[in-house]
């Protein structure tokens, strides 16, 4: 019940706002903030009550919803979804603060923001395919409205593109869901769309599971977005208002990676294994292509958007390493990307608010007039590159470690992405912050104000926290990852290696606490100098 309450609390807030008078802007903002903060604090309570030692679903609730179809309102959190859930409430709160200066239709804006929050939270807790799909589609509408109403000049094009891309992918997933629903009914005699039940009982031929895998893959790959399906992302990011970009990068993209971990891997372990090379190469192309395209962007936001494509490639690569390092890395990188990229978008938004342009060529020498801003930007930029001691390093290191065990060439190719990231981020940083302060319009730009500091500061704290002591976060999903890996381990599907399974496989699968501790030590080393 508690989880339901937290999930629907933002929606409740949105309903409250409906009844408030439009003219009373400050009261509207305060109410929205109150709901967002309350929601975040309550979700922290979930985290403290979370049992790290089990992969089982926690805070569960399972009541009948559509009895005639065997569809339940089944919710719960496990290690894979907990951090994403908390991050959603956290970023919603940040976004409400970051949108304090929105002038146009503030009430409708906050309503959309809070409704969006409930939609996203619902995606992460749903344990019934029907319910998952409902939330998955529902959150499209507020996001569409946010991009379309409060966005930039090409907002209508961008918002419709965003909506249609996602809709096409998810509708094919709907067909797969229906197919699974009837298949389960035929094979086990139980009419259910329960995710846990399906995970345990789904038994389909490899051919069929490949098709189903593809249907799910398309929905999630568009959302992530992976390389050939990424074209909606730069448009949506560039046109979205700052908070919209933050939510988009911070949470919406994570719904795609979450989908892979919740559906593709556990439902179709063998098909996932068969598709590893395809996914890996698409991810690598995404990593390198995203980085190269980011390098030549003239628009700051577009640069960050393409860097997202590159970073999400890492996450995908980590997931499809199908071993503990890779998946742990992917999960922590999910959070890292949510923090770093959100912070980058917030920072870009800050200069955009002042100058109403995001062109790199318009800036230069900002370090001289905006020192606080420059420092914040530098920290965030370095974390995005993956400098040791900051969050990006932990995730990328684990992902590369994981993928190296699978294929050295892939790891080598992916590593080049890290180098390219340094190129585009540092080059951009140099052109914006250093050089001479030539443009007269920039002369009287103000440094960050308190409100802007409040939005950035928590993110910077998290950057260092994850970078220095990732264990706080990593330990939440240990059990879940190990359970997942035991299901999808490639060794299960390699008949010719069966003899070596005991001697070799066991060791490679499970990450022992001592190993983990030594790894953490390694990660903390650089900062201790």
């Amino acid at each position: 019940m508690f989880l339901t309450f937290i999930t629907f609390l933002p929606f409740l807030g949105a309903l409250c706002l409906v009844f408030m008078r439009k003219e009373n802007a400050s009261a509207i903002k305060q109410t929205a903030l109150a709901f967002a903060v309350a929601d975040f604090l309550l979700s922290l309570l979930l985290w403290t009550n979370f049992d790290n030692t089990t992969e089982k679903m926690q805070f569960g609730l399972n009541v009948s919803w559509i009895e005639a179809w065997g569809i339940n309102y089944h919710i719960g959190l496990d290690g894979i979804s907990l951090l994403l859930y908390v991050m959603t409430t956290f970023l919603t709160m940040i976004c409400v603060i970051a949108s304090w200066d929105v002038k146009k239709h503030i009430r409708e804006y906050m309503i959309a923001m809070l409704a969006l929050s409930t939609g996203m939270l619902g995606v992460f807790i749903a344990l019934d395919l029907f319910m998952f799909y409902v939330f998955w589609e529902f959150q499209l509408v507020p996001m569409y409205i946010i991009v379309g109403v409060w966005g930039g000049p090409r907002r209508i094009y961008a918002s419709i593109k965003f909506f249609l891309f996602t809709a096409v992918g998810s509708l094919l997933m709907l067909v797969a869901i229906l197919w699974i629903y009837f298949h389960i009914q035929q094979t086990t005699g139980v009419a259910t769309a329960d995710i846990l039940y399906i995970t345990d009982h789904l038994d389909v031929s490899l051919d069929a599971s490949k098709w189903l895998w593809m249907a799910f893959f398309l929905a999630f790959a568009i959302k992530v977005p992976m390389f050939p399906f990424h074209t909606w992302l730069p448009d949506a990011h560039v046109e979205a208002p700052t908070a919209g970009s933050v939510i988009l990068a911070g949470v919406l993209l994570k719904m795609g990676t979450y989908g892979f971990l919740r559906f593709n891997l556990p439902f179709f372990p063998q098909a996932s294994f068969e598709f590893v090379p395809m996914v890996a190469w698409l991810s690598i192309i995404g990593i390198i292509y995203g980085a190269l395209v980011a390098m030549v962007q003239e628009d700051l936001k577009k640069l960050v958007a393409y860097s997202s494509v590159s970073h999400l490639g890492f996450i995908m690569l980590g997931i499809f390493a199908l071993n503990p390092y890779g998946i742990q890395g992917a999960l922590i990188q999910n959070i890292n990307h949510g923090i770093s990229t959100s912070a980058l978008f917030l920072l870009v938004g800050i200069v955009y608010d002042r100058r109403h342009t995001r062109l790199i060529s318009e800036f230069g020498g900002l370090a001289k007039i905006m020192p606080k801003y420059t420092v914040c930007f530098m920290i965030v930029a370095l974390s995005s590159i993956g400098l040791p001691g900051m969050n990006g390093f932990v995730g990328e290191f684990l992902v590369l470690l994981g993928i190296f065990q699978v294929n050295g060439l892939w790891a080598a190719c992916a590593t080049s992405g890290v180098i390219l990231a340094a190129c585009y981020i540092l080059w951009m940083f140099q052109r914006v912050m250093f050089l001479e302060l030539k443009n007269p319009k920039n002369m009287d730009m103000k440094d960050m104000n308190t409100r802007e500091m409040i939005t950035i500061a928590p993110l910077i704290i998290l950057i260092f926290w994850i970078g220095l002591y990732p264990n706080t976060f990593m330990k939440t999903f240990d059990a879940s990852v190990n359970h997942l890996v035991s299901k999808v381990n490639p060794d299960n599907f390699r008949p010719h290696q069966e003899k070596h399974k005991d001697s070799h496989g066991e060791h490679a699968q499970l990450i022992t606490p001592t190993e983990m501790a030594s790894l953490n030590q390694k990660l903390q080393m650089p900062k201790k100098f």
Partner: protein, 478 residues
């Protein structure tokens, strides 16, 4: 030879809804003589009549009960459809009250016609004999011809009526010819006897029967406005008075689908190999033509006409699926479609004023910031029509697609979901105008209470069926 009318087979209780409604319709014709310009008495009487009809539908128990030599049946399908018809006719009448006053439609027979039309729909949905089906279709059609042209001084209304009449008469001809051929090759007009007859494999390959089926498809295809028999729909939808348009889009269509289902899915399931492909092609064409056509439209009524063509395509999947899920999903779909459609047309009416109907989509620019509740309701209806959760349209589509998947019609379902994606484009176009554009001129909309009430019912129905569909699904799936 056995007697054609065995006395015990005339069961007036089974026929109660038809009788009650006919009596009320005639009562309205009489009352109109005294009422003068004030039509509220007629409205009240017709609403009472519809309520009584709905109640009397449950008079016959246990079901299924047959009457008139097995040519009329009270079964689950017809009971549920009677409920849909009475709800949709009541909503249509409520929508008409203020619209008719505004547009100067003073004919008292308007309400009688809607009731007579509903009588036809009930007959159509309850008939198990082709003669009865033909009678039902004729009653419905003739009432609709008159209703479409009831604005006698309006060119478009006249055009709509004439077009509908000419094409409709033509299609009825096809239908009748098809029935004749089926009768000729099976020796009966009774659907049960035909079903019995075609169980024999040698009967199935009779070319006359095939020909009859094709002609029946043409006839029904016209009534449900499926491609390629859809040409009339945009013009008629645009020209007819808006409440009549809403009425046509729901009730008669549902009735035609009920008969469609009874004739094809119930009577000729053994011959499905010969009509399944034909109907699939019609369904796919309807989806594509409807959705792609709707993208081009600038007039909201025309856009909704094309959208209803595409919905006919989706619903045809229920007939093609021909299983029990098919019939129950058909029921659920028509009920949710009724709420969404009346809601949308209610808002179309609200947006208009005397003399200027504001039917262009660009008239909706910036509506969200002048009348947020109206715009939000419109958004809910449109997204629900597109099939977005958590609204009724999504559950309905989910139901329909699951019926088709159960029969293994995977390709058809994939085409249908892709079409849903296309349909989002034009539904969202209206949302774009309402939320993302600045108002072009000041809104002078007519916020009249009864029309608003219909919109409210639409919203409640759409959301309720979307979030708590269980009870209705249970009712529909018996």
């Amino acid at each position: 030879m056995e007697p054609i009318l065995a006395p015990e087979s005339i069961d007036l209780i089974a026929l109660a809804p038809v009788l009650v409604l006919s009596i009320f319709a005639m009562l309205i014709l009489v009352l109109d003589l005294w009422g003068g310009r004030n039509k509220s008495l007629l409205v009240f009487t017709s609403l009472v009549g519809l309520l009584m009809t709905a109640i009397s539908a449950f008079a016959k128990y246990p079901i299924p009960a047959y009457s008139f030599n097995d040519s009329y049946v009270v079964d689950h399908l017809s009971l549920f459809f009677i409920c849909i018809f009475t709800i949709s006719s009541a909503l249509a009448i409520l929508l008409s009250v203020e619209y008719n006053e505004r547009e100067g439609i003073r004919a008292g027979e308007y309400y009688a016609l809607i009731l007579f039309c509903t009588v036809g729909m009930i007959l159509l949905a309850s008939s198990t004999d082709m003669i009865m089906i033909f009678l039902g279709i004729e009653i419905v059609s003739i009432c609709l011809y008159v209703l479409a042209g009831i604005r006698r001084n309006d060119h478009r209304s006249n055009e709509a009526a004439l077009k509908y009449f000419l094409l409709g008469a033509f299609a009825t001809g096809f239908l009748l010819y098809g029935m004749t051929l089926v009768y000729g090759s099976t020796g009966s007009t009774n659907l049960f006897k035909i079903a019995e007859f075609v169980k024999n494999p040698s009967a199935q390959s009779n070319p006359l029967l095939m020909m009859g089926l094709v002609l029946l498809v043409i006839g029904f295809g016209f009534k449900v406005a499926s491609v390629p028999f859809h040409m009339w729909a945009p013009d008629v939808y645009q020209g007819a008075p808006t409440p009549v348009t809403a009425f046509m889009a729901v009730g008669p269509k549902a009735a035609a689908f009920a008969a469609f289902f009874r004739v094809f899915a119930d009577t000729f399931p053994e011959m499905s190999s010969s009509w399944e492909m034909l109907l699939s092609i019609i369904a796919v064409l309807s989806m594509f033509v409807g959705n792609l056509g709707a993208i081009m439209q600038t007039n909201i009524k025309r856009m909704l006409a094309f959208s209803s063509i595409s919905h006919a395509g989706y619903i045809l999947m229920a007939v093609i699926a021909k299983n029990s899920l098919g019939s129950s999903s058909l029921l659920f779909y028509m009920l949710s479609y009724a709420f969404m459609t009346f809601g949308v047309f209610g808002i179309v009416i609200i947006l208009g004023r005397k003399g200027e109907e504001n039917l262009e989509i660009k008239n909706y620019s910036g509506l969200a910031y002048k009348h947020p509740v109206i715009a939000l309701s419109m958004t809910i209806f449109l997204l629900s029509l597109g099939g977005l959760p958590p609204f009724a349209g999504f559950v309905a589509k989910f139901y329909l697609f699951s019926a088709a998947i159960q029969e293994g019609l995977l390709t058809l379902v994939i085409i249908a979901v892709l079409n849903s994606a296309i349909s989002f484009y034009y539904y969202l176009k209206v949302v774009v105008f309402m939320y993302m554009k600045e108002p072009e001129a000041e809104f002078k909309i007519s916020l009249t209470p009864i029309t608003l009430f219909v919109v409210f019912i639409g919203v409640v129905g759409t959301i309720n069926l979307g979030i708590f569909p269980n009870s209705i699904i249970t009712l529909a799936s018996h």
